[in-house]
Subunit: 563 residues, 2 copies
């Protein structure tokens, strides 16, 4: 495979993809948790003396380092190669992670994600066996680090990259991959539709430590020169094999867009807004035949199974506006996706289900409840949803609102939306804004679900904030660079990082220290809280006066919050 990769990677000018170092986060170092042959990378954030260091899982691979064109062309180390080869050496069994799980076997990949998520390997296996979680890592993508997606694990974030005919080069896309990883993307989809579609994908996969998803119908359409009516199952299967051989980890396949559902979209405000959905609708109408992705689904399964590529069953009829949310077309397709889930599971193929789109808040939960029921808890993977249509330029926000809520309700992975949505192809800054907005949504969902350990980071950061440990507050945050930059806009002097105030309120108002004093008082005397209330306050009032009442001389942060 490496030989093929090399060949592909030489197609474009190698110099064009030389990448500068990303600029590592301050006070962070890469560490590993180990379990035998499994080594799971984390980023360890060091904080002030006396505080515990904090670890977050890390999907960047070696991308914080400088990467020469030669290194990029060689691709990442093949972490999973030995594991895969050992399994291939055995007889002709079904080698999907789901098949192993159902046979009771715990793979190295399962042990990897168990360590990363602080769960037991048995739990991981059982979740995959019953279809409630997937571990989408194509055997032909040995560079990838295992990633588990399921409602009982941390909520994941996908970032979309990819060029279009109008803009973007391979170098830009590899840089966007790396940039997505810096900010915390868990998987990346290459949605390229422009030139060099095969080569772009090859560069991305060979350099991706996270699972890569694609929408194969895009390339199939290129192969028939853009004429949807010329598509057929053979060109599609050929494309699937080509991409599976490259190592794509999950495929979006719009097999639920049935001929009889298409008229249900005719009274919609925004019709069909899925590219894949519209391509298949066009094919169906032209031939007045049923969608060949549906009728030939078993043949597709045979290929998926051979490589252990996971299905991401596409929602080609998802709503593209508030007006179209939760309509008959959308839910009719969902029924078919449930039917297809059963077929895939019969082959022990891993499945997740894609979801909307544009949905007002009060209609979000119904989406999850129906999906859980119809698709028997196969992981839900949603795009936002955007909770209003009226803010182009801010759709990372309109959609982060819906994403946080749908994550709370049980969605396993959130597909990011950037500020450029509806307006243009995202650039580097848009990717950063989109990923961070979605890391916020995913983490908010983990908190609301009561995911074990999720609140530890909030607690660590808030403790740092309360104790005026500015550097720790920055370093523990999702985007330390931004937090530091904002703080330093008004107080750039190094001394301000030790100050008990910031520019919001200035050095005269404060709010936080009093509680520390009160707690110290009660603790010193071994009083219960009630006693402290009943007895201590008289004494306290005296002590407080003696201490000069100086505890408000310093200043906390938070303008709006501190009114």
């Amino acid at each position: 495979m490496q030989k093929d990769a090399k060949k592909s990677l030489n197609v474009v000018d190698a110099k064009a993809v030389e990448l500068e170092p990303l600029g590592p986060f301050a006070a962070s170092k890469r560490v590993h948790l180990e379990d035998g042959d499994v080594r799971v990378p984390f980023r360890e954030v060091s904080v002030c003396a006396g505080q515990e260091t904090f670890r977050v899982y890390d999907t960047t691979g070696p991308h914080f380092e400088s990467r020469s064109a030669a290194e990029l062309a060689a691709g990442l180390p093949k972490l999973r190669e030995d594991w895969v080869n050992a399994r291939i050496a055995r007889d002709g069994e079904n080698r999907t992670q789901m098949a192993y799980a159902r046979r009771g076997e715990i793979t190295a990949e399962m042990r990897f994600v168990a360590l990363r998520e602080n769960m037991s390997p048995e739990f991981v296996r059982d979740e995959i066996a019953c279809g409630r979680a997937i571990l989408p890592n194509n055997m032909k993508h040995p560079e990838s680090e295992p990633m588990v997606i399921g409602k009982n694990f941390l909520v994941k974030v996908n970032a979309n990259i990819g060029n279009s005919l109008v803009t973007s080069s391979i170098a830009e896309e590899v840089d966007k991959l790396r940039w997505s990883l810096k900010w915390g993307a868990d998987t990346v989809m290459d949605l390229s539709t422009g030139k060099n579609i095969h080569e772009t994908r090859e560069w991305i996969i060979r350099n991706s430590p996270v699972p890569i998803g694609t929408v194969p119908i895009y390339q199939a359409l290129e192969k028939v020169k853009g004429k949807a009516e010329d598509l057929n199952i053979d060109v599609f299967l050929e494309t699937l094999i080509e991409q599976a051989e490259q190592g794509v980890d999950y495929f979006t396949i719009h097999a639920g867009v049935l001929l009889r559902y298409i008229p249900l979209t005719r009274t919609r405000t925004t019709g069909i807004v899925s590219r894949g959905g519209s391509i298949m609708a066009k094919w169906c109408l032209h031939h007045h035949k049923e969608n060949f992705l549906y009728t030939e689904f078993e043949r597709i399964c045979e290929i998926m199974k051979r490589y252990d590529v996971a299905f991401s069953l596409g929602d080609g009829l998802r709503p593209g506006s508030i007006a179209d949310a939760n309509d008959r077309a959308q839910f009719a397709e969902l029924e078919t996706l449930g039917e297809l889930t059963d077929i895939a599971w019969k082959h022990d193929i891993q499945v997740m289900i894609e979801g909307p789109g544009h949905v007002p808040m009060h209609k979000i939960k119904e989406n999850v409840d129906l999906q859980m029921k119809i698709c028997k808890e196969a992981p839900f993977y949603t795009l936002g949803p955007l909770v209003t249509d009226i803010a182009p330029g801010y759709d990372h926000i309109t959609s982060a609102i819906g994403a946080a809520m749908i994550g709370w309700f049980g969605t396993a992975m959130l597909c990011y939306v950037t500020p450029k949505e509806h307006l243009g192809l995202p650039n580097r800054q848009d990717v950063r804004d989109g990923v961070v907005a979605y890391k916020i949504a995913a983490h908010a969902a983990d908190l609301a679900k009561g995911h074990p350990g999720a609140q530890a980071r909030d607690n660590a950061l808030s403790k740092a904030r309360f104790e005026f440990r500015w550097e720790d507050q920055f370093n523990l945050s999702l985007d330390p660079d931004k937090a530091r930059e904002f703080h330093d806009e008004t107080l750039p002097a190094p001394g301000a990082k030790g100050a008990h105030f910031c520019s919001m309120c200035g050095p005269q108002f404060c709010s936080m220290k009093i509680t520390q004093d009160l707690a110290a008082y009660a603790n010193e005397r071994g009083l219960s809280e009630e006693e402290a209330i009943a007895k201590g306050l008289d004494e306290r009032a005296g002590a407080f006066r003696e201490a000069g009442g100086a505890i408000y001389a310093n200043e906390a942060s938070a303008s709006a919050e501190e009114e």
Copy 2:
């Protein structure tokens, strides 16, 4: 009053506050709806021929025009002066909007907001009479346009401005007022704690067409040279009168921070994060006495009533971190706010109740339910809440998530949070980002509540999007300037505004037009949807082929959404 204002306004160098025109929104003009002597301003957005124009209510007053220092010093026209004078001419009745409402009288202010919100004046009156809505417009702020705040009206957004000792000038604050209004703030709070606190407020009030709120304890603290223990009810009442005379429309008063609640905060992660709350806690502890704002609440009421200033009962013990959400301290204070609501209502004084803060998603609804019950549906006015602590630099997003949800659950007004929260004083760009994020949250809440007419803007914008009317899509959005700028980054040519694609997907992939064709087909033949499914598709397949299948030659927008 104008004489006093002039005097104040001369304190600072007038040249410093000369303001350039704001830059009006494209395709927009100011229009008025009229009902006798009441004229309500709207911004009318013109769209392509054949489409209906769209109106949004407009709070900017004359601020889109250039404002000379002399004009700013003279203040805005006194819209409400005659209404107020006519009522003053009558005998010594209680002149709060609540008192009129309870006596069955519909004021001009009520007719104004009825027109603005498309409700009947009787409904407005009844909501104010029962305390479920407030109309905070001090009789001494005749420049203000009436604004109604209540759960059965559109969700409102407040923007905080104000200087601190460390940064900001009067000119900057007047500019931030104007800038907040451009992006759609419904009320503005002046939280200044720095120099020229009286003069800054005077410039803001005289030039504000929206209600202005303050936290009077800040200025009272300045009067006692920053020593909280030297505060007393006399200096506080003197400050209230000073600010009420200037025309402040609502006061945040932290009368619920009782002595016995303070120890409940001692085990918190972030203690007391409200500035007003911590000032009162300090006073209580120093003297070991009950909060004088609580014990002297009736005397405060006498002043509020005289000017018709509304209470915004402050939540001085709100949580400042996820760890502290919904704790005993917070809910104990809420009980007291309920008690104070009854006292204020006894005087026919309008009341709203402030709320958190930092709350994970699953604990948000409890806040609203309890507030509604304890405070008998007095309007809730919340800060966010932030649904996680881990994203300083992005807290407009972490809090817009919570704000949208709490708005849906019944909160009447959302206090914005800017990206600079926890890090520094917001600048112009931060104000814009904060207000737009909160307009999104408020509108999402209106949609989810099923507020009459709320979806009309989504429908109009989505229809424009579906029909590739790019300019209309921009002009109907919350921030037309940003939408246009993002689009033009990749396709700046004027011709691209008529194109059936953007840079996301390029000109080869498309999704939307097919639905239009299908609808046209069914409509022409007068078929029902079911007939179209059963009968039409055969015919359609032929017609589709004859038409050359060219309907996908053009291209829609939406990269992520169009996979």
